[in-house]
Symmetry: C2
Subunit: 132 residues, 2 copies
Amino acid sequence: MWIPIQLNEQSAEPMYHQIEVQLRALIVSGQLAEGTLLPSIRELAQTLKCSVITIRRVYQDLENEGLLRTKQGTGTYVAKVGDEMRDIHRRSSVIEALEAAVDAGVRVRCSDEEMMEMLRDILQRRRNANGT
Amino acid sequence: MWIPIQLNEQSAEPMYHQIEVQLRALIVSGQLAEGTLLPSIRELAQTLKCSVITIRRVYQDLENEGLLRTKQGTGTYVAKVGDEMRDIHRRSSVIEALEAAVDAGVRVRCSDEEMMEMLRDILQRRRNANGT
DNA sequence: TATACTGTATATATCTTTATACACAGTATA
DNA sequence: TATACTGTGTATAAAGATATATACAGTATA
């Protein structure tokens, strides 16, 4: 009943958002299986040293996205997400971010080749950093 | 003395930020040459239907980045930016956005190839959309 | 049915972001 | 030097984001 979420206190990114992003990724990438019972809002709040209301917000947001299913008095579970839906969710977060990058590129007159090369470089650099 | 800036009223993105992003791109991509006299803060404020203070903030932010040079009583000019500096500025906005996309990809276990393909698709789709 | 868990709803505190008004100060020039 | 432009500094309004406490309501089960 423990889930791997790490909060970065230094970051300007708000707690609720850090939690949402990480929990969404865990569900959508299949690391948390359908039907898994999540920690109660009080338990997770204690673990992450924040208020119950903050966790509540996260669970509610993800339920509105169809990723969680919640039942008062019982708990909050990972919802059944069709394979198609899961892949859409999974890819859309990445695609949205890439679209933003392309917007930035267009504004400064980056060629398509230049952008592809930039991405290649970034991926390569990370692979090396991890391999060390 | 007119510069092509378009505000999207619908967007949640604040005015000052929309203006900054577009003006920065114009300078850094060389579309506004060094020494160009920009519209006065009052003139641009009137054009964009916002307060003088909002424009002032934009000019000040970009001056702090070294992209503008301003002289009280005279006006605000595009600063001299070394070719290297310009290219760093130009590329960094795109690279930052791409890094964010890669972060998103890593979280949902996207392979490198998958990400490259996503970017290729987006670029292709845009090329077709514009070609029409 | 008592109790010890679940989630829920309302109301509010705090901080940050965004945008503004208005009085002030420098510069050019008729 | 009057005036009509430039940018500047201070102070503040308004809205939104973030996080919270506290009282309430449903569920399981000893």
